[in-house]
Symmetry: C3
Subunit: 154 residues, 3 copies
Amino acid sequence: MDALNLISRSQGFYVRAIDDGPIEEWPEFFTDDAFYKVTTADNHSRGLPAGVIWANNKAMLKDRVSALKDANIYEPHAYRHMLGQPAILEEDRTGATSETSFLVLRVTGNGPTDVFASGRYLDEYVFIDGKALLKKRIVVCDSSRIDTLLVLPL
Amino acid sequence: MDALNLISRSQGFYVRAIDDGPIEEWPEFFTDDAFYKVTTADNHSRGLPAGVIWANNKAMLKDRVSALKDANIYEPHAYRHMLGQPAILEEDRTGATSETSFLVLRVTGNGPTDVFASGRYLDEYVFIDGKALLKKRIVVCDSSRIDTLLVLPL
Amino acid sequence: MDALNLISRSQGFYVRAIDDGPIEEWPEFFTDDAFYKVTTADNHSRGLPAGVIWANNKAMLKDRVSALKDANIYEPHAYRHMLGQPAILEEDRTGATSETSFLVLRVTGNGPTDVFASGRYLDEYVFIDGKALLKKRIVVCDSSRIDTLLVLPL
C-alpha cells in the first residue's frame, strides 16, 4: 500500500480510539520513542518551545491516558475529531512526513455542539508491518484558547 | 481496489446524494436486505433497542425519501455532510466492517451555519461489481437532541 | 495511482497552501487556462452567471493572491479548510470530474471558532506527471452570505 493509504488507515483508527474508545489504544499509534507536542499557532510561528502538552516517549502518553480517565469523571462531554486528507511532504517505503488539518467538536448531552479546537498535525510516520506509526506529532492549534485541552488528546 | 478505496468512493457519493441530490439515489447505496438505524450514543451504549429511525430493507429507505421530499416543503434548509476516514475493522475481498465519524452542518439561507449533528457510522459493507454497498449502517449520534433528524438521512 | 489517490493528494496540499501557506502556491494547483468561480447555491441552481469570484486563467488567480496578502493586513483571522471525500463522476487515465464537499472554519485569536463557509467543489482535473491539476473549479457555497469571501480562496 502507498503512503496515503497507510496514513489514512492509521488516522481513521487514531480518532476512533480517542472519541469512541478504548482510549488506552491511543498511545499505541506512536513508536516507543515518539515525540508528541500540543502547541498554538502563535507559539509555533514564533518558535517558542513551550507547548501545552509535551511528551518524548510512549510511557508519557500512557500517563496522559490515566489522567484523562480521572478527569473525565468531572467532564461529561463527548468529542468528535474530523481529519482532512494528509498533505504528504516526503515519503519512501519506510515512512513519510505529512501534515493534516483537524477539527474537534465538543458535544454536550442536551446542549449545542460547537467547534472545540482546530489546527493541523505536523507528523513523521514510520511504516512497520504494514502500519503507519507516529514517530513525531506536533499538534498546532489555530486558536490560543486551548487551556481545557489539558485533558483531551488531539 | 482495496477496501479503503472502495469505501471512500462510496461515501463520497453517499453524502452527495443526500446534500446535493438526487436524494432518490440514497437508498441505492444499500443492499436490498439492508439494516439501517439511527440512534443516540446514550441509547447505543445502554443497549436500548429503540432507534430514532429504523429500517430493515431498501423499500423502507425509499419510503423515507418520499417522506423527506414532502417534509422539505416546510424546511428550507441545506445540509452538508462531512465524513472522516473510515477505521476498517475487518476486510476481505467480499466486504468490510468499518466505522466512520461524521458531522452534518445545517445552513439557513441568510443565517448562520451551525453543527446540526455529529456521530459515527457503524457499517457493514459488501463489495459487488467493484462497488461498496451497505448491508448494515447504524448511525450513532453523539447528542441526544436529534428529534428534527426524523426527516434527514444521515 | 488511481483517480481517488491523485485527487486526495492534490486536495491535501491545496488546503494546506491556503490555510498554512505559502499562499503563493495556491494558483499552482490550476492549469494555465483554468476556470475558477465562486458562486452561491441559490445562484448556481437558478443558472445565474455572476459569481462572487471569477477567473479564467492562472494569472488572474495570482492577482487574487496579491490582493489577499494586502487584505490580510486588516484581517487577523485564521481559516481552516476541511474537505470530504471526492465523488468521482468520470475518470480515465488523463483526468477526472469530481465533486467534493468542504467547510471552512474561521478562527479568531482569542474568540470562538465558527463555520465561515460550506459548500461543494465542482471540479475538472487533469492528471499531469502524476499530479492532479484543476482545469476547472466551481465553488458552490451553501449560504448566500459570503461577501467577506472576496479575499479568501476557497
